[in-house]
């Protein structure tokens, strides 16, 4: 009986985590405050997900935290989550885990990046800081299904070179003909020969064209606040720009009631919203 319950789908047992094994941990930033956790379901692959979705990471005795899925379903069975150590109970405990540990997962939760609308279009990804995770998922997905999409342009910035995520991959992407990558840091150091400057400035300088394009923007509120007017000037419409929101969450399935923005629940109606959708909601996030 217990086994039956354990294997029941999320729809019927939405609060029961599924066990995964932590395969490996990658320290992403020089401050070691961001680590990527590679997880594998204990009984083989369990769910299908798409870029933009999230999951609740569960550690018994500590609790759960909602984290965006940073891997792409095109990458195989391993799921990857890049987690910032907020020094809260769950993320602190996660950061102390070594490979072999068990991590519970509930998901996939929420909606996805607008994959149908992106099909055949120019894809523009604008990311800042550690909000880049589900954008990475989307980039990997586009690269794996390259013929389904037109140009892929990525603007990604961080405070310092050491704060950039996925550095080996960024180096590959810089050389790749499959996408255009504009990397920037607020302030460089002796290791940095690239661009210095804020993300909105880069978007402005590169004059990212809105024609036949969809943009996905994620980052600190201040970055988004200054990037949107630049995009408006370049002719982007709110319908063309999507973002992914964070809220305090417990259940992730629309029951616990704390992640709503007006009538929309970030956990089930989001986390991905277009700015056209957000313009109809209260500015309460």
């Amino acid at each position: 009986m217990a086994t039956e319950i354990k294997n029941a789908p999320l729809a019927e047992t939405p609060l029961l985590p599924q066990p995964t094994t932590l395969e490996r941990v990658v320290v992403e930033t020089t401050a070691a405050d961001l680590k990527s956790f590679y997880l594998k379901f204990k009984d083989g692959p369990r769910w299908d997900y798409l870029p933009g979705q999230f999951a609740e990471l569960s550690l018994y005795g500590y609790g759960e935290a909602p984290i965006g899925i940073a891997s792409s379903p095109t990458e195989g069975e391993e799921l990857m989550f890049t987690v910032f150590n907020t020094e809260g109970k769950v993320t602190r405990a996660l950061h102390r885990l070594a490979p072999g540990a068990t991590v519970g997962l509930r998901g996939p939760l929420g909606n996805t990046w607008p994959l149908e609308e992106l099909r055949g279009k120019n894809v523009v990804v604008i990311g800042g800081g550690f909000a880049f995770t589900t954008q990475r998922s989307l980039i990997k997905y586009v690269l794996a299904n390259r013929e389904d999409f037109a140009d892929l342009t990525v603007v990604y910035g961080a405070r310092s070179p050491g704060a950039l995520l996925y550095k080996p991959e960024l180096a590959e992407w810089e050389k790749s003909p499959e996408l255009t990558l504009h990397l920037t840091v607020d302030k460089g150091d002796e290791t940095w020969s690239g661009r210095e400057g804020f993300v909105p400035t880069v978007v402005e300088e590169e004059k990212l064209p809105p024609d036949d394009a969809i943009a996905l923007i994620c980052g600190p509120p201040i970055m988004i606040k200054f990037t949107l007017p630049v995009m408006d000037k370049l002719g982007w419409k709110p319908e063309q720009i999507y973002t992914s929101l964070e809220m305090q969450m417990k259940c992730g399935v629309g029951m616990c009631g704390r992640c709503n923005i007006g009538p929309k629940y970030v956990c089930v109606d989001g986390p991905v919203f277009s700015f056209a959708e957000l313009s109809k909601l209260p500015q309460e996030y």
Partner: protein, 337 residues
């Protein structure tokens, strides 16, 4: 079978029969303060002076605190679905209606909560139509009424010395069939219902919600929110006594690798409810939080499900230590230009 008729003093027979059939029977009983649902101890059910229990029936299906999962190191197991059948007699229409609304959240959004649904399925609600609403009652203003059968399994109408019991769900029908009482005629039932329709008519509507609802949302930034929430002390009492408030928090309790994951009632009127890990809080001020509570009841839920999440029981009005009144809030905010 339309309805059955029993003498009012035959009610104990019905309840004893239910007990014999395996139901845990609960009925309103006087408590230190007000009324509560207590295990039926036999004998007459004295409802003299009873209108509402202090706490609603929601705790029977959504306990105030519930360990939904237990863990032993990495092995977690859901708590087994509760099995006991319960008969709740004397539930008011507003409370039953509220559970039908909570069903939307715990059953109809694409995820089904097994513990909630088991309790819901195992409970038979015998709703007692209201003959004498309190001044704080406003069910007819929010879509309900003194004889509303929404969410009920059986509705009991008092008619002199008789009780007419009408099934309003398959569960209720089954229960009444098993009880083997004589049928009530359609005329008798219509006559009894007509009395409760009069009770409903006598309740003056507070507002025209169809007109007020869009105003509440348009007036999101209205000064009136500050005014209505100014006395709020963020104690959460309104949410805990509310039959349709269903939000919860989750905490792991245990040590040395063994423990349980519990959920417990939470309140949107309290600041930690929406506090982000970053320290940012989208609803930091109490006016924002009170606005959330009112708009969730009257706008957001309606936007999603076509119904108000308030059933007009008035418990929040009674329970508030600072006399914050949700009726007044709707009136004031909707009136602001």
């Amino acid at each position: 079978m339309a309805a059955v008729k029993v003498k009012r003093n035959e009610l104990p027979k019905l309840l004893e029969g239910a007990k014999a059939a395996g139901y845990d029977v609960f009925a309103p009983a006087r408590a230190a303060e007000g009324w509560t649902f207590a295990p039926y101890q036999g004998g007459d059910v004295d409802l003299e002076g009873y209108l509402l229990t202090t706490a609603s029936v929601k705790g029977f299906v959504l306990p105030q605190l519930e360990a939904f999962l237990s863990y032993d190191n990495d092995d977690g197991r859901l708590a087994p679905a509760p099995e006991g059948k319960r008969l709740l007699v004397g539930v008011r229409p507003c409370d039953a209606r509220a559970l039908a609304l909570v069903d939307r959240v715990y059953r109809d959004r694409g995820f089904r909560d097994p513990l909630y649904l088991a309790r819901r399925d195992n409970a038979v609600l015998v709703v007692w139509a209201c003959g004498l609403p309190a001044p704080t009652c406003f069910c007819t203003s929010v879509g309900g009424g003194p004889g509303d059968a929404t969410g009920a399994d059986v509705v009991a109408y008092e008619a002199g010395d008789d009780l007419l019991l009408e099934a309003s769900s398959a569960k209720g029908e089954e229960f009444l069939k098993a009880a083997r009482f004589g049928e009530a005629s359609d005329e008798e039932l219509d006559e009894a219902k007509a009395i409760y329709a009069k009770v409903a008519e006598a309740m003056t509507p507070l507002w025209d919600l169809e007109a007020a609802r869009p105003k509440l949302y348009e007036n999101f930034e209205a000064e009136a929110w500050e005014e209505v929430a100014s006395r709020c002390v963020s104690c959460g009492a309104c949410t805990f006594v509310c039959p349709s408030c269903h939000c919860f928090d989750v905490v792991d309790e245990g040590k040395h690798g063994r423990g349980r994951r519990v959920r417990f009632w939470d309140a949107c009127t309290q600041s930690p409810f929406t506090l982000h890990a970053s320290g940012h809080n989208p609803r930091e001020r109490k006016a924002q939080r009170y606005r959330q509570r009112v708009l969730h009841k009257f706008y957001y839920f309606h936007d999603n499900w076509g119904e108000n999440l308030c059933v007009g029981c008035g418990r929040c009005v009674v329970a508030c230590p600072a006399n914050v009144d949700i009726r007044e809030a709707v009136t004031l905010v909707a009136a602001e230009e």
